[in-house]
Amino acid sequence: MRRPVRPPSSRQASPPAPDMRGATSAPRSLGWLLLPVLLVLALFLGSVALLFFHAFWGKDGFSLVYFRQILERADYHEVFLRTVSIAAIVAVASAVLAYPIAWLLWRLPRWRNLLLVIVLVPWLVSLVVRTYGWLVILGPKGFLNETLKWAGVIQSPVPLIFNDLGVVIGLTHVLMPFAVIATLSVLLQIDNRLEEASESLGAGGFETWRRVVLPLSLPGVFTGLSITFLTSMGAIVTPILLGGIRQKMAGTQIYQEVVYNFNMSKASTWAICLLLLSGLGLALLRAAEAALVPKADR
């Protein structure tokens, strides 16, 4: 190990401190170190408070006009319904598709680092870049359509984007790495001896997976479901680029209200509704997890 870095202040600090109290009783003055974090938290909580303020307080004082609008307008119901349905489909699709990848990484410990890079790099690359990639692949003159045409499979391009299908494909791909990581981190917790025990008791590989590994990995699957659901609920870029302007989701509507209409009251109201729906979704997932996963595993 390298020698500890000497702080610039060590010269003044070198004479022994007079008191010999144990390190366990840290002085209260350390509390000042919390100040920067508290400032960031205050900023965040302040922004949330402003969100509520703007939602309930318009130009003419207290008002529920935008909440009422959301309750009354059928086209808005459709937007929220589409948002929740797409988020649910994306969450399930990413969890299902991510599971085998996580299983593969778990099963190949020697290759895990390399394979992990293949998962992490797409995850960390900007989602606008990944969405652009899907545009290049799935577009009417994209790679897939052109290749299929070249191969003589189709005559005219298949509409793969500018519809809900494009949004689901794009979001699922963007969010899958989250689900892989969540599932893998739980798989890695499983005690090897449990599998050995199951196999020595005569269960086959699939049977062991179904009855031992799968139940134990469910908490990771649920973490993945929660993250991907939440993130799809608030997505903007992928729905706009792959869904087109008419396939609105809550996030795209909010973005439009802020950037083009400068209507912060309406945007804040929508944001609060989005928060509520996301919270509801997470609560349902929690309840499902509680019902499916035995208590000792949580």
Partner: protein
Amino acid sequence: MNAPLVRLGRAASFALLLFLPAPIVVIGATSFAAAGYLKFPPGELSLRWYAEAATDPRWIEAFITSLGIAAVVAVLVTVIAFAGAYACHRLKPRWLAAFELAVMSPLFFPHAALGVALVNVLAMAGYLGTATGIVVAHVVCTLPFAWRPIVVALQRIDSEIVEAASLLGADERRIALGIALPLARSGLVTALLFSFIISFDEVTVTMFLTGPQVTTLPVQIYAFIQENASPVLAAISTATVVVTLVVVMLLERLIGLEFFVAHDPA
């Protein structure tokens, strides 16, 4: 279980794994295609899109802005998180669980809602459309990601070392900077690189905050896709992928990637 079935399962899983980098690979291939679009079989290769990107001041400016913002955010958020996590680690306040929940709370916000919330507060302070505003927003968004690796690293420090140092007369400042800081460096490096890359590639929240004066690379890519999907975008996108890849490889070399799949001890 019979071996062919296992092999089939592995092959299928591997195919799914390769699906993850697929769009990035496609963009990379497109960026070298002279025709400007990807076709099969591939056509002539060329670097013209890179040349075009490198001579366009708009892209250079956005690239430098993004790197600068990411660097400032990474340093700021790592310092803030280390200070806070260290104080929590030493003081072990009774309200620690609630406090950590508050630190993590931005994670529970859908990005669209987070964007509106931050627009509200930054507009009130007059920082909308400025680099400072974007830095502040990114610090809020990346704090949870910087916090966790630092907390984990601090928990790994042998408390006897701290006690010994204290008995030998090291004051609090020396314990923090001379002992905890170097011993927690794996967490600090992870926090630094992780928050750098999140800030560099962030688009959903940032697109609420950019203005005519300042824009980041991902937001500009988004704007250009909507205007005209020129193949220059493929070259620019490949450049951001390279930045991300470099940071991930750096993280792998310096610390290892176990952090991402390590179970949260908290």
